[in-house]
């Protein structure tokens, strides 16, 4: 099991952002996290990534507890959040190079330029990130999944800020993840698109799992609830 969370709960102040969440994701599975704003999707992803400590319950990624062994667990996962984790004054190539070096990977132009090419930033690798549109930043952020070779990818609103071509690109990647046995946890508002990609779905309401099932049904339920 790539990801196993049981009884997961997190309290911020007096407010439980997440409670009683049980979740298992097998290798190569794509799971849709649906839910209104504030339903706990982002908190769940951050808990899984080990960026937030659970108040209750446990997470294990390929058998590793992200709180006990943060470095080991982070080697297994990639996260794309709404923040692009970038330094505005660095260029795309420099940013990629720092990531590659920190991962202990070769970081010459020959190694990195093809990746930038792949995410559609080929001609612009020497421009500083400050001038990038939100969509370009997202593309750049996706290079991390290419570098880290994760077993689990956490995607927080991966389609936002992307144009049609960018969205198709992300879809292609998610398919690629599935084919290569990498699990994906996908939190998205772009329900129809996300539901098509996902194997199954989970609906969060007020931080709790309200419904599980086929991705399309989960999407339909959320749409019905918000309509």
């Amino acid at each position: 099991m790539t990801l196993r969370a049981s009884g997961l709960g997190r309290r911020f102040g007096k407010h439980w952002a997440l409670a009683r969440v049980d979740l298992e994701v097998a290798a190569g599975e794509v799971v849709l996290l649906a839910g209104a704003n504030g339903s706990g999707k982002t908190t769940l992803l951050r808990l899984v990534a080990g960026l937030v400590r659970p108040t209750k319950g446990t997470v294990s990624i390929c058998g590793i507890d992200p709180q006990r062994q943060p470095l080991e667990s982070r080697r297994k996962l990639s996260m794309i959040s709404h923040q692009a984790y970038l330094y505005p004054r660095l260029t795309a190539l420099e940013t990629t190079r720092i990531w590659a070096r920190l991962l202990g990977l070769p970081a010459s132009d020959v190694d990195l330029l093809p990746m930038l090419e792949e995410v559609g930033l080929g001609g612009r690798h020497n421009e500083s990130v400050a001038g990038f549109s939100a969509g370009m930043k997202k593309r750049l952020a996706f290079i991390r999944t290419r570098l880290e070779k994760p077993r689990l990818v956490l995607l927080d609103e991966p389609f936002s800020a992307l144009d049609a071509a960018g969205r198709r690109m992300v879809e292609g990647w998610i398919d690629g993840f599935r084919r290569s046995g990498t699990s994906v946890l996908l939190a998205s508002h772009t329900l129809a698109r996300a539901a098509r990609l996902a194997d199954r779905g989970i609906l969060l309401q007020q931080g709790q799992v309200a419904w599980r099932g086929k991705a399309e049904e989960v999407a339909a339920r959320l749409e019905a609830a918000s309509a």
Partner: protein
């Protein structure tokens, strides 16, 4: 469209070449490989910070200008009494460095917070200790860069004329002072940069803490500038070194807890 194969087997061989431990083998994380990783990552962080520093040169320039302005203000505060100014030179220099340092230190983690970049670094398997030493070294270098301007300006303003050979000593002591401010400064700016009142909190926490460094630095600089009749410079330098050793190890030990998940 997609030629990505993100789930492919982890690149064990490439990881080994650059000193990082093999991702899938906990046994590979021996002590030596830990230190190799830490050193590599420290240098990566340092290099990144220096690059960012270079890209935002205007910030360095404004901090230098701020230091010059404080030096000027001290002379107004003391009055046009050349003798009093001369006697206070060492103290004014160190105070100018201290006041400028809070600007530089605060900014160094603000850059990391801006787009949650520090979180991005932590999501990569970075050793928190490496992050600390990289950033602290970066801050030390940043503060050392103030010396070539602030020291001559102070000497001119307060009409002190040390021998040419003393400039190396002055710079060495400046470096030690900068390092002594940077270690606790990096720790506290990492914490306060996430809080609302960083501008107040950072000096409030940092200034009392670095009193030993300040005293040592003022005393040692003063001995260089006004003559070291009793040969005390050596012992004050050793004391500054000792303070540095304590701060750099202590802050390095507690830093990982300061940036862990909450």
């Amino acid at each position: 469209m997609s030629t990505l194969h993100p789930g492919a087997a982890p690149a064990t061989t490439t990881a080994a070449t650059s000193g990082a431990p093999a991702p899938d083998d906990p046994a590979a994380r021996s002590t030596t490989s830990f230190f190799a990783t830490m050193l590599t990552q420290t240098l990566i962080v340092l290099r990144k910070d220096l690059l960012l520093e270079w890209r935002s040169r205007s910030r360095l320039v404004s901090v230098v200008l701020f230091g010059v302005v404080t030096l000027l203000l001290f002379s107004f505060a003391v009055g046009p009494d050349v003798r009093a100014l001369r006697e206070g030179t060492a103290g004014f220099l160190v105070l100018a460095l201290l006041l400028s340092s809070t600007l530089g230190l605060a900014e160094s983690f603000r850059l990391e917070q801006e787009q949650d970049a520090v979180e991005g670094l932590l999501l990569l398997p970075i050793e928190p200790v490496a992050l600390f030493y990289g950033k602290a070294l970066g801050n030390t270098i940043f503060l050392s860069l103030l010396a070539p301007i602030l020291i001559p300006v102070a000497l001119v303003l307060y009409s002190v004329e040390p021998a040419w050979s003393d400039f190396l000593r002055l710079f060495g002591l400046w470096l030690l002072t900068a390092a002594g401010l940077s270690a606790p400064g990096t720790l506290y700016s990492a914490m306060t940069s996430q809080l609302r009142s960083q501008d107040v909190l950072l000096p409030l926490l940092l200034f009392p803490l670095v009193v030993p460094v300040l005293l040592g630095a003022v005393k040692a600089l003063d001995l260089v500038l006004t003559g070291d009749a009793m040969g005390q410079l050596g012992s004050w330098t050793i004391m500054l070194l000792a303070f540095n050793l304590i701060y750099w190890s202590l802050c390095g030990i507690v830093f990982p807890r300061a940036i862990e998940a909450s």
